[in-house]
Every structure is written in structure tokens, then in C-alpha cells.
Subunit: 409 residues, 2 copies
């Protein structure tokens, strides 16, 4: 049977980067950038006043001058006017261009103002003199130079990235298009949410779970439910395999008599990449691909198995097809410290539900949660991650560092 | 001047929980539940078969019986049929009800099958006998009992929570309605993204940044830009103060001559809660509220100041108005370990841009990033969090644990 490592490698081998599309910048939040964005001018583009106050010549300060006549006032957004008298000052606001003929800004807090009653002229007295030229000035190109690469292709466009893109005038940007995902549940025992189930029935929950989880990583999803009937599957699956980037099925892949899904998929031209992985929960995971078209994640139907397989295999795949490999973010597991001893006997990789805690000393601790097995959907509620325990080991003592796959903040 | 702690307390004091609305469950992803959801029956609702195989009486196994005639086959989703012969077996599929007259399941992997050529009867031989009654059976109510509280009001509805809600038949749920946020930028020096700015102008970026950041926590936003003109603000702000839960402004609150926003807001009936916080960046932060209606976050316009103030004050507020206080999630900072020495002289709380790293030993490390000051928007790109350094201390040595506010994964 396939190891988790090998299954991961084979899933990753099917990753093909989705094509880009062009969007107005405000619509691109949460998307992956597919072009390099460079500074179209220096940052700041001019010697930018960083405090409200007065602009002066530092040379005058250096000679001991403390009183300055206000020549004029310069607001942000006004075209700059040079200061004529090197011994005078320009009253000036944050964001304005530093006027020619000045080089230093003194903020209001360090000044006293007076108006001459006869002439009407205004004067500022410097109480706390600046100690160097350029004080309170954000010099042109201090941060970035024109042509600098600010946002390389592959960048996730969050709030800060959108602001930088706006600043360089990227009104339209190339971003990866949404992955299209069909979510299919199977199982005759499953009835719609609004139905009162008979004693031997349960309500459909996996499709909704997979839909929400796929949409969290940017997928456009459509959900379907098919009965455990070969003819129904043969009729309905081909269109899904044509129209979607991925088809995620839950149920129908374990060893049971009604689990004919792998056979139907093979008949429909989906090449089996693997069936069964050396792991618990989720061993009967089936994975395949069409030469042209969708990949198929056929996950075992027990809710916890479905959930764990999605977060361990399908979610990273959905992120990878959106993002150039060179820029892959940290979508994988993070190292966490096991808080209590755990033992697991079978020679299987064990995905252990845990609650991650940011301890006061800066450590990330993983507290194992009592779980009722792969059918105990509610056990997911108390946890926010699962640890990956390797198969060759039986006892894991408190303090061991293991990879944690987080599924909730 | 107000401490960061006191400013936080005063912002929190304005939190009023938003009213609920009712949504079809699939539309409720990412929302906060506003009703208790309980198990409408036991989980599992019946003795649920956990493996494909055969169901038998353990008593027969205990006597040493190894061969069982298959009486019939029971699929998931079929109404249950009792097994008549206590020495026979029922072939059975995962998810099915355990038939009356049986109590234990043996999986296919532990069986050999043969068909009698004369009678056509099928027989299973047990290769690996089960060691206790109830093996491979997920007993009724093993996980939860009817009436158990599964999802308390205040729960964030992620993928697992939606699945649990579906399982208990919550086709419609009460959730907090979206916060409505108006994002307003001011500043005559700001021009639209698609415009080529004159040398003294820069493009608008803060509104887009605030919009994306607010939408990440579920807000419905609308953006506006107003010139630095008292009359324009007096005319346009009243409608925003009526129609939105929060108005977030950037620019116009520092000490400059053109920064008349606080005065205009007071004239429009917005009570000033505070102006200026003992912090860097973002000191000129102004915060107010209307007796009935919106709160106003008036943030200084330097991009990094705007950004840090949003994540430090406005984001937690937007989360708090959606979620009952008893169920507040960990939306605050996490403890992180400073990776290098840092010094900061002014008697201000310092928000230090850092890159958080999950180290291989399970520690969360914070690497300070070179930053160009509050105007250096691009410095946000290399970091994913800011540390909160308290004002009374000047030197922070490597190894110190400090609160980290994460703004990107």
C-alpha cells in the first residue's frame, strides 16, 4: 500500500497551473498575481513632508537662528512653490512636497507661533531645534527606486499588496482564475438536510463540508448528490469530468459491494493514480486523473476521513494550481509540540486531531482531543488541526515536535 | 495622551452585538451562529457498521465457530432486516444499520469467501477473529446523545461546523448579519489608481487596503473619496453616519491646517472618545461614536499607520460586533519570540513589523523587518505581523516573548 509521502508526491505530480485572467484591481482581493509589478516611479516620488509644521533651511538652524518668518503655506496636493528667502520658513502639511530652497521640517509640537500686530506677518520660534538636515522629511526614493520589483508574479493579493498595486497604478491585474470544483456525495443512506431521516438514514453533510472548505481556498464549487447506482454515475460523471478542474467525491471507494465508483471512473477514462493510502483515518482514498481534464479525489465517506483527506491532499492541490511553484506560500503543516504522550500501534500514518495552543512562552503546543473515530463528525469541533504521526513509530512522548495541519484559526 | 491599553478598552466599550438574520445553511459559511444547535437524535443514530464485511453474533465467535453462512446482504440506506439464525452472518456495508440479532462486524480483510457449488449458498471463513463484542460497530450514541449541545451560539461556521449543522437538520440558521462599513479616504494629493499622477500627487491606496482588510472579516464595504474641504465633508458624512455600522476614514486627523476632520465630526454629532494614542506608528488616531449609529475610526493617512491601526483596533472591533462576548475566538495577538535585539527609545508603544516563522522546534519566532517608516507601504510586504513593544522599556533582547498581531498567513 502507498505511503502518505508517496501519495503526496503523486498528487503533486498532477498539478498544472491554471491560466490567468484580467481583473480590475478592487476585484482581485484574495487572488494570486500572475505578472510582476514594479515601482513606476521612486517611493516616495518626491521629498515628502512627514510631519505638519514648517520647512526651513538647516543651514539657518546651524547658525543658531530660532525665529523664522512664514513666507507662505503649502498643503498636500498643491503644486510646489519654491521658498525664496533661505532665512524664512514655509508652513507645511504632511504629504506635501518639500519646497525647493528648504531641506528640513520642524513639527508643530516643537514650535511657538506669533503674529506681528502691525505688519500682520506670522513668525515661528523653534523651541526644540532639529539635529540634522532632512529631519521629518521622507526623502525621494528612500524606500524604493523606480523599476524596483515590488510584487513578483505569484504574490497573494491581500490588503497591503492591493495598496502597493494601487500605488504603482495597476488598475487592471493578471491573476489566476478560480479553480472549478464539483463536489459529489454518494450513498443511498443520505437524505437532504431539510428531511427528517428514517432510523437507518442520515442527512447529507459531506458535500456542504467540502464545498465550504474548497471555497475557503478560492474555488468556485457546485454540489451534486448521486445514488449508489452505476447507471446514474455513468450518466452524470462525464459532464463533470469535462467541466471542472477537480471532481471531489465522498463515499463509494471502500471495499464494499456497493463501492463500484473506482470501476466506473476507470470506464469513463479516469486513470487510477492510486487507491488506498497507508493512513488512518482515510485509508480507502482513491485518486485519479483524466489525460485532458479533471483530477478526481474520491474520498472515503466517513465524515472525519473525508475531512482529513481534503485538508491533507485536496486543499494543497487547490492552492498549488493557483500559485506558481516558485512562490508557494506556507500552505503546508507547521511544527507543533505534542503536549501529552500518545501511542498508536498500527503501521499506518496516523492523523491525530489536536487543539493547537499558542503558549505564553512562544511555543506552539498540540493537545490531543478525545475522538470517537472516523464517524465522529462532532469531534472535529473541539480541534483545529491534526498532527501527522509517522507509521514506523508506536509511542510519541510529550515534547515531540510533529507536523500540524491547521484547519481552523 | 492615552495609552494603547486604555484606547483598546474605550474602543471595546463601544461594541454592540449586531442583530441576527436567517440564512439557508449553505449560505452561512464564514458567519457566526446565533442560536444553539443540539443533536436532534443520537450520534450515531443507530448501531452503525464501520467497516465493509459481515455482521455476526459474538457469542458464536466465542464458541470457536469460524465458518458462517451468509443469510443475506444489507447495504447502507436500506431499512434493516433482522438476522434470523444466530449462527449465520449478514454481509454488510459501511454506514448500514447493524441488523438485529448481530452485534459484531468482521471486515473483508479478515475473511475468506466461498460459494457451495451445489446449493449456491455463500460462506465466509473468519481468518482473524474479532476479540470483543461490538468490534467494527460504531454504537448508537457513542459520540453524542440526543439533546447534547453541539454548536453553541457564537460558533464560527467553518467547514466542520456546517457539516454538523447539516447532520442535525438545521436547514436554516440564525447568524449575525454582515457589518456595514464605509471606507473614506481624504487628501487633495490623492488621485485615482488609473491616473498618471503629477509629481506632487500620489495614487489612492488606503481605501482599497481598508476595504480588503474589512472584507476579510466579513464586512460589506463601500468606498468613498472626499477632498479636503469642510463643505464637502459636511454634506457627505451625515448619510454615511446613518447608514453604516462603522465609518473608517484615512487622513485628515493629524495637527495640520487642513486636518479639520475631528471638528467636522464633532459638529455632525459624533462624540470624540479619544484623539491621539501613545503609539508609533499611528499616534494621531481619532475615535468617536454617535449616540445612535456608527462609530468612527479616523486613522492617520500614512499607509503603514492606517494599516497598523486597522489591524490593532478596527479589526478586533469588527469581529466583536459579530460574535457574542462569551464565545470570542482568539482574534487577538499570539505570543512570539523576538529573534534579534531591538531598541526603541521614545516613550511610546511601538508596533514593530516582523516576519513570523514557525521554527522547526515548535517555537514561533518574530524576525524584525527593516522598515522605512510609516510612509513605507512596501515594507508591509516582507512582514506578516507586528509586535507590540510596551512603552516603558527601551531595549528588547532576543528571546523576549511579545504579543504578535498577525495580518497575513
Amino acid at each position: 500500500m502507498l505511503s502518505v509521502e508517496e501519495a503526496t508526491r503523486r498528487v503533486a505530480a498532477t498539478v498544472r497551473l491554471l491560466p490567468p485572467e484580467f481583473l480590475a484591481l478592487p476585484l482581485a482581493a484574495g487572488r494570486i498575481l500572475r505578472e510582476d509589478l514594479r515601482a513606476d516611479r521612486d517611493f516616495p516620488p518626491f521629498n515628502r513632508v512627514a510631519m505638519d509644521g514648517i520647512a526651513v533651511c538647516f543651514a539657518a538652524i546651524a547658525t543658531g537662528q530660532t525665529e523664522f518668518q512664514i513666507e507662505r503655506t503649502q498643503f498636500a496636493g498643491q503644486p510646489p512653490t519654491p521658498q525664496l528667502d533661505p532665512l524664512a520658513a514655509t508652513e507645511i502639511m504632511t504629504g506635501a512636497m518639500l519646497p525647493e530652497g528648504t531641506d528640513t521640517v520642524i513639527r508643530y509640537e516643537d514650535l511657538l507661533f506669533r503674529t506681528d500686530e502691525v505688519t500682520g506677518h506670522r513668525y515661528a520660534t523653534v523651541v526644540v531645534p532639529p539635529i540634522h538636515t532632512g529631519h521629518n522629511v521622507h526623502a525621494q526614493a528612500a524606500d524604493r527606486r523606480q523599476g524596483d520589483l515590488l510584487l513578483p508574479a505569484g504574490t497573494y493579493l491581500g490588503a497591503a499588496e492591493l495598496a502597493v498595486a494601487a500605488t504603482v497604478g495597476a488598475a487592471t491585474v493578471a491573476v489566476t482564475r478560480f479553480p472549478r470544483v464539483a463536489v459529489v456525495s454518494t450513498g443511498d443512506e443520505l437524505v437532504p438536510i431539510a428531511t427528517r431521516p428514517l432510523p437507518h438514514q442520515i442527512r447529507r453533510s459531506n458535500a456542504l463540508m467540502l464545498q465550504a472548505a474548497a471555497e475557503q481556498v478560492g474555488a468556485i464549487t457546485q454540489t451534486f448528490h448521486f445514488d449508489d447506482d452505476v447507471a446514474v454515475l455513468q450518466q452524470n460523471l462525464p459532464a463533470l469530468l469535462e467541466q471542472f478542474d477537480a471532481v471531489i467525491l465522498s463515499g463509494g471507494v471502500s471495499k464494499g459491494k456497493a463501492d463500484f465508483l473506482p470501476e466506473v471512473l476507470r470506464e469513463l477514462g479516469v486513470e487510477q493514480v492510486f487507491h488506498e493510502v497507508q493512513q488512518r483515518p482515510g485509508k480507502p482514498f482513491w485518486f485519479g486523473k483524466r489525460p485532458e481534464g479533471a483530477v478526481v479525489f474520491a474520498l472515503p465517506g466517513n465524515p472525519v476521513s473525508t475531512f482529513v483527506n481534503f485538508y491533507r491532499y485536496a486543499r494543497p492541490w487547490l492552492l498549488a494550481i493557483q500559485q506558481p511553484a516558485t512562490a508557494l506560500p506556507s500552505t503546508g503543516p507547521v511544527p507543533a509540540i505534542l503536549a501529552t504522550d500518545v501511542s498508536f500501534r498500527p503501521k499506518l500514518t496516523h492523523f491525530l486531531l489536536v487543539r493547537l495552543e499558542h503558549a505564553a512562552n512562544g511555543q506552539l503546543l498540540a493537545h490531543p482531543e478525545r475522538a470517537g473515530g472516523s464517524g465522529d463528525l462532532a469531534s472535529l469541533l473541539a480541534s483545529n488541526a491534526f498532527l501527522e504521526l509517522p507509521p514506523e513509530q508506536e509511542l510519541f512522548s510529550a515534547g515531540t515536535v510533529l507536523p500540524a495541519w491547521r484547519f481552523r484559526d
